[in-house]
Structure formats: C-alpha cells, structure tokens
C-alpha cells in the first residue's frame, strides 16, 4: 500500500513538474512542425497546380533532383527573388534539377498564383498547397524558403536562396553552391541559411 502511495506520488510529482516546465517555457511557433533534418528522404506528395491539375513531387523532379521553393504572390521578399528563381530554375533544369514552386498562403488563391506567375515570368510549375499540408510536412515558415533534394529525394539543403534580398548585396549564393556540390557528387558544405521573409499565411 505504502509502495503504491509512493509510486502514485512520484508520478503525480513528475506530471506537475513537467506541466510547470512546459508552461514556463517559451512558445516555439504557431504550431508549425519542425522541418525534416538534412539527409531525410522526403516522401512523395501530390498537389494541384494553379489550373487544378495534380502533380506528384516525383513526376516533377528532374533526373538529378529537385528544388522545392515556397513562394508568394504578395510578399515583397519573395517577389524580390522572382528573377533569380526563374534564372536558377532554367539554369539547373538543363542540369537535371527541376524547380517546383509551392504557394501555401491561404490569402492567395490559385487564380492569383496563375496570374502572378504569368506576370512575373515564372515558368516552373507552381503548386497550390491549400490547407498548408505540405508546408506543415516540410516545416516551412516563410517565403521564399527553399528545399534542395537529390535524385533520391533526400534533403541536402534547406533555407534561403542567398544572403540578400537586394541583388546588388548578394555575396553568398547558398542554394546555388549546394546544388553545385550535389551535382559534383560532394557533400553539401552549408546545408541551410536563415534570412528574413514573410510568414506563410496558414489556415487557422
């Protein structure tokens, strides 16, 4: 009986202390799941493009890999990268790496994604992630935010495109360097990079 009492007390103490620890801790995010770690193989997924046609990740990937970038129509940072994204997409498509855009903002409907892409000259496929399921799965928080995958859909880079929103300030082309190392069969040296960007407008 005493033993039972002791065990109960111990469990109760642990529960109370654990709850206190959680309550006192800093909140981490708007409940966005943590992104997959570098080296994780990304499971295939399907999303519709702006015309409603479904595509799988594997069907859009190139023979050497893919770059998934969360983008936006209204975010000035994402828009500052339109030309750079398109240039990178064309350059690396020729090398077997296809770029795939994902718009997960619930404030930007498919029709807007379509007209924005046409207006800004974005020729790579852009998928609409209504309900932000894939943004959640990849732990994406901002636009633009890039994920580079090798031929086996293994994540080799996750983060910024480069170090500067303004083209003239670019001194570190992190995504490009990662892709070049991947294509050369080398381990990626810098596997991520932080940059200011617009928060993805998720469904509440």
């Amino acid at each position: 009986m005493k033993k039972q009492y002791a065990v109960s007390l111990l469990v109760a103490s642990l529960v109370v202390i654990a709850l206190a620890a959680v309550a006192g801790s800093g909140r981490t995010d708007n409940d966005v799941p943590a992104p997959p770690t570098i080296g994780t193989v990304i499971d295939d997924f399907k999303l519709p493009d702006a015309d409603g046609k479904e595509h799988s990740l594997k069907s859009l990937a190139g023979s050497k890999g893919a770059v998934v970038i969360f983008i936006a129509t209204k975010c000035p940072v994402s828009n500052a990268y339109n030309d750079r994204m398109e240039k990178l997409a064309q350059e690396y498509k020729a090398k077997g790496i296809n770029f795939i855009g994902i718009n997960a903002n619930n404030t930007e409907p498919a029709s807007e994604v379509k007209s924005h892409a046409a207006e800004k000259g974005l020729t790579f496929t852009i998928l609409k992630d209504d309900g932000n399921k894939i943004a959640d799965r990849l732990g994406a928080t901002r636009t633009p935010e890039a994920y580079a995958l090798d031929a086996n859909m293994k994540l080799v880079y996750h983060g910024r495109i480069d170090n500067s929103q303004k083209v003239e300030g670019v001194t570190s082309e992190d995504l490009r360097e990662a892709l070049n190392e991947m294509l050369a069969g080398k381990a990626v040296t810098k596997t991520g990079g932080a940059a200011f960007g617009c928060t993805i407008k998720r469904v509440s």
């Binding site: 642990l14 202390i17 006192g24």
Partner: protein, 186 residues
C-alpha cells in the same frame, strides 16, 4: 520506505528542474535597458545599429528589473503592419507596469524613411532601431537559434535574459499580454 519516498521526490524535482531549464532558452547575453527604457525615443527617430549594436541592446544589466519585449518587423511585411497597433497599445498599457519594449526594423537602410513614416502613422512611442547588416543570418541566429527569419517575430525576455515567450507571425494580443503579466509578476 520513507527514505525511498523522499529520494523519489528529490529525483522528480531534479528532473523537473532540468526539464524546465532545457525548455527555457537563454538570451544571447543579459538584456540591458538603458537604451530601451520607457520613452527613450520619439516615434520617428530610428537609430541604425549593426550586429554588435543589436547584441548590446539585447544585453541585460545585472541590476535590470524590467522584462523586455522585442519585436522584429519590416515596413514591407503585411503581418508586421497589421499587428503593430496591438503592439503600440501593449507598449502604452505596460510601460508604467514595468515592461521595456524594443522595436527592431529589418528594413534596408534606404527604406528607413518608409519605416519612420509608418511609425509616425502608428503613433509609436517605443524605442526603434534599424538593423543594418549585409548578411542577416548571423543576426537571426544571435537573437534565437529556433528562428529562421520569418517576420514578424516577437520575443519576451525576463529580467534574467531568458526568452520566456516567442511568437513567429502575427501576435495573438491576449496570449502575449498573458505572458507579459506572468513575467512582470515574477
């Protein structure tokens, strides 16, 4: 039996303390207040700081008695602009209750006039600095290793410099106020 029970309680408390410490991240260094005390700058005055300047602002004087709320924003950021009236109100409501507030715009230096104009429109009274760094990554990491740069971002430090609340994206005013109330009472 009594001894075993006491040992169990001691063990539970120790585990709890370790868990609590691992959950609460430390500020880069103690948070200072001389430059972020109440009413230190008019709304339109934006001081330009580099990475070292930002780190100094986040340093805490050992004699500091006020928690510090830090909000990162940019004039181009919709969510930042939308939440700003709530932050101005929180600044007004809590300054006299012992809260320091530092507003950090990450606008480019040439966009400082837009930031200043926005602050005037908001009638903002908290101290504001513009973070002027060529590469943002070291600054983002210096503030919080769990932050990837998504804006807006809001951090509440207790008097010891611990981050006791962080929020990425638009704040939920009631949630933030509850966190401030709790921190001020400590």
């Amino acid at each position: 039996m009594k001894m075993r029970l006491s040992l169990s309680i001691v063990l539970a408390v120790a585990l709890g303390v370790i868990a609590a410490q691992s959950q609460t991240s430390k500020a880069p260094s103690p948070v200072g207040s001389k430059e972020n005390g109440s009413g230190a700058a008019a709304a339109s005055e934006i001081r330009v700081v580099d990475l070292d300047g930002l780190k100094k602002l986040l340093q805490r004087d050992p004699n500091e008695k006020r928690p510090l709320l830090v909000n990162f924003w940019a004039s181009w950021c919709d969510g930042c602009r939308e939440e700003f009236p709530d932050l101005v109100k929180i600044d007004e409501d809590y300054r006299s209750k012992g809260l320091s507030f530092l507003s950090v715009t990450v606008d480019e230096l040439e966009d400082k006039p837009q930031a200043a104009s926005f602050l005037q429109e908001m009638k903002a009274k908290m101290p504001v600095v513009l973070l002027n760094v060529a590469d943002k990554e070291p600054a983002i990491h210096a503030v919080d290793l769990t932050w990837d740069g998504a804006l807006p971002a809001t951090f509440l430090y207790d008097v010891s410099g611990n981050v006791v609340y962080r929020h990425f994206g638009k704040i939920k005013p009631e949630e933030l106020r509850a966190a401030i109330d709790k921190t001020i009472k400590q």
